[in-house]
């Protein structure tokens, strides 16, 4: 066997070996991107340490809301008000003032005070419950992990409850939570982007579901 052929075989072996390794890394990173990162466990009491002021603001928060839900486009004003610890009122009105919905979120349970007929379906209400629980960190969790990802300037606050996990991803430069991701068995179900913070409150929020056609765009007015 001449040198060139041997070289070629060696090269291919090398390529195959590294391809496999790369593939393995790729698969493992797909299944859990945080697997090889430093991960520290804390008790669920530390939830308030998450640098995210939205659930704790005493102000009335008003967002211009554009919600697309399958073929429906709903636009109006989303009003969020903390009434007490873990109790919120969340209402959506049209530009013309009439209410589309008025919910009370009480310790993670969404109670309907009013809801327009076309949205008043159990599956839709549950969806809103998941969304607002995610935005306002109201999910009941067992553990909190802090995962450091210095390469991407991220500190991930992972709230875990069985197969579900809620990741509040902090940008270590801006110190703000810039993404939220809800995963079930490591498959992403809801992702949220938070931008243009004003006094620790996100000026823009985009929330998107990956398994249903629901998108929410919020822009802070007050």
């Amino acid at each position: 066997m001449n040198f060139k052929v041997r070289q070629l075989i060696n090269d291919s072996k090398f390529i195959i070996r590294y391809s496999i390794l790369f593939l393995f890394l790729l698969i493992s990173s797909c299944s859990n991107p945080y697997k090889n990162l430093s991960k520290t466990e804390y008790s669920a009491d530390n939830i308030k340490q998450i640098p995210y002021a939205l659930p704790f603001s005493e102000k009335t928060l008003i967002y211009k809301a554009d919600i697309s839900f399958y073929k429906n486009d709903i636009s109006g004003l989303l009003i969020m008000k903390k009434i007490d610890n873990n109790i919120y009122r969340i209402a959506l009105t049209t530009q013309f003032g009439l209410k589309i919905f008025d919910f009370e979120l009480n310790h993670g349970t969404l109670n309907v005070k009013y809801c327009a007929e076309y949205l008043d379906k159990k599956v839709i209400i549950n969806t809103f419950q998941n969304d607002f629980n995610l935005l306002l960190i109201q999910n009941q969790v067992k553990n909190i992990f802090i995962i450091e990802n210095p390469e991407r300037n991220q500190k991930i606050w992972q709230l875990e409850s069985g197969k579900l996990n809620y990741n509040y991803i902090q940008n270590t430069d801006s110190e703000k939570i810039e993404n939220i991701s809800f995963k079930k068995r490591n498959s992403e179900k809801i992702s949220v982007g938070l931008y243009n913070y004003q006094d620790n409150i996100p000026g823009n929020i985009t929330l998107e579901h990956h398994n249903i056609k629901l998108k929410m765009n919020l822009k802070l007015i007050q």
């Binding site: 009003i79 003032g97 589309i100 007015i221």
Partner: protein, 213 residues
Amino acid sequence: MKILTILITLIFLSGFIYAQESSFSEIMDIDKVKTELNKLSDNTSTIQSKFIQEKHLSFLTENIISKGEFYFKSPNQLRWEYSEPFEYIIVFNDKNIFIKDEDKISTFDTESNKMFSEISNMMIGTIQGDLFTDSERFDVKYFENASQYLLELDPKLPEMKSMLKTIKIYIDKSDISVAKIKMIESSDDYTSIDFTNRTLNQPIDNEKFNIHK
């Protein structure tokens, strides 16, 4: 969109300033009032007015304020424009509807879109005063004081009843024009719209009823 339909209808009652809820007494001679109210549509070719909209929600201590301006040209052109808290414009021009939501412009055709055709029909009906006498849709009670008429409309149809308990329309006697509309929901939350700086029968450029992409 049903909500929007109804709201546009209500808002389309157009009109203007001041409203005191006190000391209104019920009117018994309804025919006379109806004749008076017909002047609202008969003598109006254009209306231009600013408005202030207040939304009251029981769980808030302060009302949410929106402001804007509207233009109407008989028989079927309307521009309803919010400038605060953000820019939002809806224009009805004969068979066309334009919505400008910040930079996004949407257009609809009432002929191909049944829903918007319904909105358009309701609007025209409203400006012609049909809403006041629409006994199929509303129970209407008439009140007055020295300066205003007050019409209380209680919706009869279930789908509207589930949204609104009462619509109060305050009409200035001086020129038979709407001064204020208050839409009260079943929860007692309400939206009130006050109309200010009104001008009647002044020319309005047709371009106001068009939005270009």
